[in-house]
């Protein structure tokens, strides 16, 4: 298994996440897709770190995980508030922020 295999897997995961993000309407699903994309990137970081024999990529993964955790906390809070106010979980109903 070379670097290429990891990158292909990472790419597939990322495409699944991005497509899901665009297609899915439920906020929770959108969240899951977001996490999928982040972890796809994490995978390529780790793969590169191993391949180039350098530690920076692995350190970056920690950063991404921390940010993802924070983002999950904020995002879930927003989801709860959204549900309380609008009684819905569809992202398409939260469209008042426009021109």
């Amino acid at each position: 298994m070379g670097l290429l295999h990891y990158l292909i897997l990472s790419l597939l995961l990322f495409i699944v996440g991005a497509a899901g993000f665009i297609i899915k309407k439920n906020v929770i699903s959108v969240f899951l897709c977001l996490e999928l994309m982040l972890n796809a990137v994490n995978l390529s970081f780790v793969a590169f770190a191993r391949h180039l024999n350098q530690v920076e990529g692995q350190i970056f993964v920690f950063f991404v995980m921390v940010v993802a955790a924070a983002e999950a906390a904020v995002g879930l809070a927003i989801t709860i508030v959204l549900f309380r106010n609008r009684n819905t979980l569809s992202v398409d109903d939260a469209d008042t922020m426009k021109w």
Partner: protein
């Protein structure tokens, strides 16, 4: 004491700051103390500096104090530097001395006015600006003072800002002065371009220097151009043809302001500047003859207008314009020290005349029309006697101050080969005596031409007003003795000024006999007495006669009382075209259509393009995500295809 030279302008500035910022909360005595105290301290310091200067050898009387580098940009360096030499010493003594006296007078005159503190703050600010002007060691600092006095003049003319005419007069003074200032600053530019310096001493040394780069110019050269531009500034500030029109209107300000700014000090700034630049002017004969011609024409014209004015302050205003003309005549014939001599004596007696007029107006409860006065001699004796002294002094009666200085000017004009200038000046002297005594007779002699309730109100002014009158009266009597003409001894005043004028080129003129000078002095006195006698005949002996003459010479009288229609002429030739040009071209076309159109058009264009693009921003997160995704992909493709190395 010269170490404290910088304090002379700065103390009045501090006074202005204190009164201007906090004076509203002070009781009146505190305001008075700050204002008059700072003027008095400046005067004492000026005296100290003067005596220090006297201790030096005449050749060494040139103290230049450089404090800091004010502007330095490439070749251009302007320093904050003050210059104390005989010329500026005389000026600071006049400014602080007369200024202090008028400050004291104002205590009484302004006691009932609103904005008492505001008045004194402006007055102190004026002292600061004027002292900066006369002490400045280079052209640029002088220009700062020059503009500062213009500002104070504007503020004080418009002191009664709730009166429309006062506001208009202030604006008129400011705008007319701006026209002159353009000339002045262009002159400064030209000086820097030519000499690469703005310091007086440096510029004058280059002009007078051994290399003979700047000989006397036969035709029109660079010095003539500089001189003429500077003189444009002087005509604005010193109210000469064609820019004199603001000074009569400036009488809208309180009377002490007219005395200090529009008679004794500020309006003489132009004369001071011409004398300060005497090394330039004396090498530019054409510029000098322009100065002389403008001066004598202004003197004669203003005197004729003064003959028929009814407002007591306007008579004095035209008289000031006329006397300033005399000073420019003196400078124009090359008698620079005579110009400063007349400047000094004029400061005494004209300030006295204005303060006396203020005392009259005060007594009359605000009345300024001479035809509604009369008989005030009994009610205001001190005012009467001091005004009489001033009138005699300005008429040139021996041995009062005005005689010596005016005679010196007329004699210089004659002895340096300008007989026509002498003749005009001679006529003007007669007219001056006439209109001055017309004023004195109308105000103080005969019976009162006012209603009974005014008569009850009549009173002599308080001591704070009559005191300054008496001091100035004494100065008007003895002020001339420091400049005795040659036939009465040596002229110490001219001797004292010599070091300041040493770089000026003295024109060769034949030494005339003392007998001739004496004869001309006798002629001057004779014409003054003739003027006084005429006024006596017309206004005391036969009071109806003046009215009859006005009817007989109806056309002439109307032209004079309408001031030669100069205001109307300016209105038709300059103000109306400027106004309609600004309205129709600048406002309705350039501003409304051009500038507004461009701004509104930009807004409309943005709105149009936005209406196309705003469809993207629909609030749908999924659509945003799709756009971001597409954008990223597009960027990656672009980088892959077009960036080298990928």
């Amino acid at each position: 004491m010269t170490d404290f030279l910088w304090l002379i302008p700065l103390i009045p500035l501090a006074g202005a700051a204190v009164n201007g910022l906090a004076g509203r909360r002070f009781p009146k005595p505190a305001v008075t103390l700050v204002a008059c105290g700072s003027a008095a301290m400046a005067f004492l310091l000026a005296l100290g500096c003067f005596f220090d200067l006297m201790k030096l050898e005449p050749g060494a009387r040139h103290v230049l104090k450089v404090y800091f580098s004010w502007i330095a940009s490439g070749d251009f360096v302007a320093k904050a530097e003050l210059l104390l030499d005989p010329l500026s010493a005389v000026m600071i003594l006049i400014v602080t001395g007369v200024g202090f006296i008028i400050h004291v007078y104002s205590i009484g005159y302004m006691h009932a006015e609103d904005g008492y503190y505001r008045f004194f703050a402006y007055m102190n600010l004026f002292l600061f600006s004027m002292l900066t002007l006369v002490l400045a060691g280079n052209f640029l600092l002088m220009f700062v003072g020059w503009e500062g006095v213009g500002l104070c003049s504007y503020l004080l003319i418009g002191y009664y800002f709730d009166r429309r005419s006062a506001g208009d007069a202030g604006k008129k003074a400011f705008i007319v002065n701006r026209i002159g200032d353009v000339g002045f600053i262009l002159g400064i530019f030209l000086i820097f371009l030519t000499f690469n310096s703005l310091n007086f001493q440096e510029v004058f040394r280059q002009i007078a220097g051994g290399a003979q780069r700047f000989p006397v110019e036969a035709g029109i050269g660079i010095l003539t151009a500089i001189g003429l531009l500077l003189f444009v500034g002087a005509t604005g500030k010193s109210a000469q043809i064609p820019l004199y029109v603001w000074l009569p209107d400036a009488m809208e300000g309180p009377t002490p302001v007219s005395a200090l700014i529009h008679a004794a000090t500020m309006v003489t700034a132009g004369v001071y500047m011409v004398v300060r630049c005497s090394p330039i002017f004396s090498r530019a004969p054409f510029a000098l003859s322009v100065v002389m011609t403008i001066g004598i024409l202004t003197a004669l014209m203003a005197a004729t207008i003064g003959l028929v004015q009814k407002d007591i302050k306007r008579v004095l205003a035209y008289s000031t314009v006329s006397q300033l003309g005399y000073m420019f005549v003196a400078a124009g014939v090359g008698a620079f020290s005579a110009a400063i001599f007349h400047l000094m004596t004029h400061a005494f007696f004209k300030a006295l005349l204005f303060l006396g007029a203020g005392s009259v107006i005060h007594a009359m409860g605000g009345e300024q029309d001479l035809t509604r006065m009369g008989g005030l001699r009994r009610h205001a004796p001190i005012t009467f006697w001091t005004m009489l002294i001033a009138a005699l002094a300005i008429s040139g009666i021996f041995p009062l101050a005005g005689f010596f200085s005016k005679d010196e000017i007329l004699w210089s004009a004659w002895s340096r080969g300008h007989p026509f200038v002498w003749l005009f000046g001679f006529i003007t002297a007669g007219l001056t005596a006439f209109y001055m005594f017309r004023l004195v007779f109308l105000a103080f002699a005969g019976e009162g031409r006012y209603p009974e309730e005014v008569r009850h109100h009549l009173h002599e002014s308080p001591a704070s007003m009559t005191g300054p009158l008496v001091v100035l009266g004494v100065l008007s009597i003895i002020g001339g003795f420091i400049g005795l003409p040659a036939w009465l001894g040596s002229n110490r005043f001219f001797h004292f000024l010599e070091p300041s004028l040493s770089m000026a080129l003295q024109p060769e003129h034949p030494e005339a006999s003392h007998a001739a000078e004496l004869a001309f002095a006798a002629l001057s006195i004779a014409v003054a007495l003739a003027g006084i006698y005429t006024a006596y005949r017309l206004y005391i002996k036969n009071p109806k006669r003046a009215g009859e003459l006005a009817v007989r010479w109806k056309e002439l009288y109307r032209v004079l009382s309408r001031k030669y229609y100069v205001d109307e002429l300016y209105d038709a030739a300059i103000i109306k075209p400027a106004l309609s040009g600004s309205t129709h071209v600048l406002w309705k076309w350039a501003d409304s259509k051009g500038i507004d159109g461009a701004v509104n058009g930009a807004g409309q264009a943005v709105q149009y393009f936005a209406s196309v693009l705003k469809g993207i921003q629909n609030g749908m997160i999924r659509s945003y995500a799709a756009w971001i995704f597409l954008g990223t992909v597009a960027m990656l493709i672009y980088i892959y295809l077009f960036w080298p190395g990928y």
